[in-house]
Symmetry: D3
Subunit: 232 residues, 6 copies
């Protein structure tokens, strides 16, 4: 038996929007270098930067039927997260489904498979992070689950978790941790402002971060010339 779960918890929208602003790299660092989806997920156009609540959708290989069932569960501010039950590169999603999601206020799609109609999606400004671009059509024969936890591109995504996606990739933040992560990200971003200014002024990271001594302790030596015979 496959299930569509209608009610899922969602994080606070203001927190979600804050996470979008920090971006994937900062959010991922702020939660302890955790939660990245695999780097093969790439945006179909750049720049693109969103965050939203995950509606999860498991599909069979070569079969996009469940995406239609998932659309109904999406609301404004959500991001649809689709993963096939075994590896597949077919073009599960195109401009008609995007039109439907856009009508519901959905912010974008993350799919561990293929997408098509990317010229139209780009014109629409509907962002998608996918494994490949492929025009390959799919069938509608096999059911799967909507809004149950699933592994997408190597990361566990629970329905209602916050998805942050930008040009650097895609990150998932546990719904319960969203506010805490947003705070940590804000702190991290603030700290970077001063560092960026000092680096721009020509100061070295070696000095700002005080690295020289520990590098030496670990065995690093500075020499004026390469010793004879040091090749790779």
């Amino acid at each position: 038996m496959s299930l569509v779960v209608r009610n899922i918890p969602r994080a606070d929208q203001a927190v979600i929007d804050a996470l979008a602003g920090f971006g994937v790299a900062t959010v991922h660092e702020a939660q302890g270098r955790d939660g990245l989806l695999a780097s093969y997920l790439r945006p179909i156009y750049r720049p693109a930067a969103i965050a939203g609540s995950a509606v999860t959708c498991e599909v069979a290989p070569g079969d996009n039927w469940m995406i239609h069932a998932a659309v109904e569960q999406c609301q404004a501010g959500d991001i649809l997260v689709v993963a096939p039950s075994s590896p597949c590169e077919d073009g599960y999603f195109g401009d008609l489904l995007a039109t439907s999601l856009e009508a519901r206020g959905v912010r974008g799609l993350v799919i561990d498979a293929g997408v098509r109609d990317i010229a139209v999606l780009t014109q629409m400004g509907f962002p998608v992070w996918s494994r490949v671009v492929s025009a390959q059509g799919t069938v509608k024969e096999t059911v799967g689950n909507v809004n149950l936890p699933l592994v997408c591109a190597g990361a566990l995504v629970n329905p209602g978790d916050v998805i942050v996606a930008d040009d650097d990739g895609v990150c998932v933040v546990r719904r319960q941790d969203a506010a805490m992560v947003a705070q940590a990200a804000a702190k991290r971003e603030a700290a970077e402002v001063e560092k960026r200014a000092r680096l721009a002024a020509g100061e070295l990271g070696l000095d700002i971060y005080g690295m020289r001594e520990r590098l030496a302790e670990k065995g690093l030596r500075w020499v004026d010339e390469a010793p004879a015979g040091r090749e790779p």
Copy 2:
């Protein structure tokens, strides 16, 4: 013995141009989800959307000699389709060959290998779909066939078949089927206009396509909350 075949049949130019307008995803669906080349073929710039008659060219690995022989067989409205006899990523094609093809009215290149000079090709507006970008030069030592059928990126291409290529990838349509496929594509596109409007207005695909009953028959259930212990 290797052959260059001088005379190949071509589809009607108006049909070819119509196919270009429908795009790869629609054309591929219109002929029964058939004819796609592998999704690793990507355009060197976007957007790009063309169709044309295939002039086929088999090359040896690391050897672009036969492309020079193939150029002579190209005429206005053609697309050159190149495949190596064993996997190779070298940069078989650059701006000089593109200049030559452009002078003959050729619409673009599809190559299951590498291409180079892509900055110039982009400035020229000469579209290429390739496996990789690589500056690696090639030799001119080994002959191959021009205008015999060949497998390119996993699909059989006969000389004179119609190639349709856009941001979604590359599709081949048998020359004899081109008119019929164009008709089917037109029908499909017309049907999508109404659907797109209804989806944009917020109607659900589940309802437009009447999917709910069949989903239930296949075992899908809608529940308000996730049952305990359902994890991926």
Copy 3:
């Protein structure tokens, strides 16, 4: 023991700038089709075209500590070349390090690993050629060598060698050969001007290069129609 070598020889800046102008494909041909780094190194934005003196930096997997040590060895006109000691796709480099390199007049980064903050790097106009884009953060625990020869993306790079990088990829020119290669590239480029004009005017490469006889000697035949039964 790991080393940071402070003094490295560099090629003449005028020669380096000339190589940047010729581009990767021409330079690679001019030195005998040699010196290309693997084609999986791609620029984070296009167009991008630079040349500079290599400062080399070996890093441990998932550890970007040594990049901080390498920054100090970079000067105006350099390109930082980073390679991990075993395959890694982490995001070793982001906008803070780019700010620091930019402050020193460094022209760009070549890294056989991942990069992040690419939206900001694109805005900054700081070019990077990398294996992947990944937000994955790194630690600072393990030392490596700066300015010793290293293999990056399949090519040996010595400190002070000239790196040429553009939309076609990345090429290395031995420092000692830089002037000679620049001359050969200039000669090659000059020769292409006339050829390009003739090709644009519709002349065939077959004729310009006098290929027909040798093609026939190697067994190529021109026929009007495909013989029966010739399939791929």
Copy 4:
């Protein structure tokens, strides 16, 4: 903060042993075609077939320190499951660690990374399923978690879940479902005995499963000869 969890629940040993007997394909089917780890995990020698309770271990890229911490948490009947926090192919595990695990009665290793000393591991009869074989050594600098849930090769593994591994790959069974899955697998295996006998006697699956009518309903037609012009 990283954690080592000392106490984890385990499934009944008799159930685990039963699952080992059924093998990966049957177990995966018996639990609804679910739970497979990615097919790139391959055994270092064949045949190999085990099942055991998962002790999970998260490691940093290029750093096998936490495996030493995980060994202490392993007991007889366990399988150690290791996943790096970002993709890495280094050789995290060799004959010394295998000796240590063997001394504790551990049944094998599943690792989404590299393994080395495979000639010795093969002689020892200590089975390993890994992504690659690599001699690349690792450091001991970064801590991670032991016995927290983790994603390994695309599948969520909780500590105490049952791992089933054989020549076909690796499958995870939720600890709570283990008995139920074993029953379903037994039923499935029993049903296959009769089918195998009938198939061996020359009966067709088309007839045994009564497929002909439904195939025809879906549009399949049997013809004596291929119609003209049907090409791929």
Copy 5:
């Protein structure tokens, strides 16, 4: 509409058996270095060496239904050739289907997808060449074609063509060319006997094939010591 074609022509069995004896490398050379399927097709056990008449079977991704329909079309001496309509790694085939094929005298399976139950298949001595090993089960929902030409692993295979498969991979020989190719292979093999003996006796290929002069003409020079500064 999908088709199962009942009657296909087959090559002479004695010729097929002769081709099996020559092996893939020799047969591929004998027909002009043509007809190899992609090298990612690997045997599940070694050594294995067969030849047979191709029964072709197109399957949907994640759907092995048509294999059941194809089995009925197989007869003694055949090899079943399966290709998915889009890339898929699922385990389409296991020991039950092998039992059925074995009962019909089928010699083996070539599949551009996954296979499972390989421990049993190895015990049975039923050889399979596949893209991957995967336990992933499939559905039975979508029809496809049996005994129409198809592209498998990058090569066109017509029903009734001869498939030759061994430890080196898989090769297809056009049915009409089978006798001619077998003759050429015999000639090639005979020629190698003498060469092998001379090489085993220490004669050099450079001398046996008289290569020295032509190598020199192409610019090769023999020197006693490497010139200064020749690095990669």
Copy 6:
């Protein structure tokens, strides 16, 4: 101009043989975790374990001509190391070349490309480490260098360097360092004997290596139960 260098220095044969005995993992560690070739080089049969002096050979893609020139430069105790000038998977090497090398006392082949006739090579006991197995034949048209330094599978190999290869992969040791590395490897191996005994007796690496305190300093904590809400 391409060169064949006739005279190359070689390491002491007793040292080479000692390195063969230590194996790849130990040798690589003994020289500071350096010198591994990429892990995609795999032996065609197992077990296999050799060491020898590198004779290097650069080949063009799809062209094995230079291997014939390299054979003449090989002597007893050597290992032939072949790398293509751009990525290629063709089957450059088969049983005839192996017969020739065997007649000269060559110990094996390392090739960053394809190999064929592996059933015969296995029977002969001639070990090969290659990127793929492929029957694809090659031409003899383009010259390259023999016994100049080259990058093979990501590592620099100088002629006369020591190649160590076994089931774990391939490692290069600089000729000048060979004796020193052999000593370090012997020391390392000796140290492992005692550790292996202690581990086999049930002692923990945590205790043998005294890791507990430093793990705790880096933030590792041991807890009896997983805290609530700790998911991947």
